[in-house]
């Protein structure tokens, strides 16, 4: 039972990692890519850590394993805040769907300049 | 082919790429990067070749641990020297010898040298 739950959580975590990578590759601008990256840190790493903590030998190992996740959460939140704030201060405008130009081209040019 | 040998081969390639970078690149920050990559390649060779029978050998690992710490100390020193050079002369590339004839690119660097020589001559 524990094996099945652990394997399911690992596969769910791998799915969120895949979703984050696809989002990083396909999303149009910096802010949406930041959003995809937060999914990787929160859900992907969380599912994998919980799935591995289910099969830990001792309580101390499971506790140390579960300590990785809040640290990654705090780091991810801080990074997202700092990067989004700095991008806003640099004048990078968020991508909008009703922009007249082609979305990916315009967004990549705008996040570049 | 065992996986440790694979890492050793990758270390050789990294060392070659880093050595070529140290020789061929001009920007000093890039030379620091190439030097670090060269050091990482040497460490990979050291640890990868020491793992022949699958059992890790602790002695090369301790050497490599020391080497990584020394490499980051050398990086810090090199960056401090580059920043000092940039503050003194405004240059960030390593072209000293071939640019010396032209005079305009190395005017800031060649200026202190005759003063030092003159100072030594005056002491004598």
């Amino acid at each position: 039972m524990t094996e099945i739950a652990s394997g399911a959580l690992l596969i769910a975590g791998a799915f969120f990692y895949l979703a984050g990578t696809v989002g990083l590759l396909r999303f149009p601008d910096l802010y949406t890519r930041l959003h995809a990256l937060a999914k990787v840190d929160n859900l992907g790493l969380g599912c994998i850590v919980v799935g591995l903590a289910l099969q830990a030998d001792s309580f101390a190992v499971a506790l140390k394993l579960l300590l990785v996740w809040p640290l990654a959460l705090v780091a991810s939140a801080a990074i997202g805040y700092v990067i989004a704030r700095r991008a806003d201060a640099l004048g990078i405008a968020p991508w909008r769907a009703d922009h007249p130009a082609a979305p990916t081209e315009a967004a990549s040019k705008r996040s570049d300049a | 082919m065992s996986s440790a040998l694979l890492y050793a081969i990758a270390g050789v390639l990294l060392f070659a790429a880093g050595a070529a970078g140290v020789v061929m690149l001009d920007h000093l920050l890039r030379r620091v990067l190439a030097f670090n990559i060269m050091g990482s390649g040497a460490c990979l060779v050291l640890v990868g070749l020491a793992q022949r029978s699958g059992i890790p050998d602790p002695v090369p690992q301790a050497m490599v641990l020391t080497g990584i710490v020394v490499a980051v100390a050398a990086t810090g020193l090199a960056l401090a020297l580059i920043r000092r050079l940039h503050a003194q002369t405004g240059r960030v590339d390593g072209k000293g010898e071939e640019g010396r004839d032209k005079g305009e690119t190395v005017a800031g660097l060649t200026l202190p040298v005759p003063q030092a020589v003159a100072g030594q001559g005056r002491d004598d």
Binding site: E3, S6, G7, L10, I11, G13, A14, Y17, L18, G20, T21, L24, L25, L30, R33, L34, L37, V40, D41, G44, L45, I48, V49, L52, Q55, A56, D57, V61, K64, L65, L67, V68, L71, A72, A75, S76, A78, I79, V82, I83, R86, A87, L90, G91, I92, S108, K109, S111, D112, A113 | -
Partner: protein, 95 residues
């Protein structure tokens, strides 16, 4: 171990190979920084998986994962605060 850790770690490494494309081609330095951040968090996941891939759990790898999670964030914040400046006009002309 369930025998699933090493294939999933391989899968995460394949994800890294895909996001290396964003490091190579992504427009602007900031998007490359995001890919480097993804490298950091995926590296933490791979480390945690490799810690449990053997017969016995290798607990020092959890320390490595903790260090990586902390210091990748510090590098990213250093980049955003110190090195990320307004893009020069030559920025659009690369690759």
């Amino acid at each position: 171990m369930t025998g699933l850790e090493l294939p999933i770690a391989l899968f995460l490494l394949a994800n890294l190979a895909a996001s290396l494309w964003r490091v190579l081609r992504g427009p602007g330095d900031a998007n490359r920084l995001l890919a480097a951040l993804l490298f950091g968090s995926t590296g933490v996941g791979v480390l945690v998986l490799l810690a449990f891939a053997g017969e016995r759990a290798v607990t020092p790898l959890l320390d490595v994962a903790l260090t990586l999670a902390l210091l990748a964030a510090i590098t990213a914040i250093a980049f955003a605060q110190r090195a990320w400046r307004r893009a020069t006009p030559a920025e659009g002309g690369d690759d």
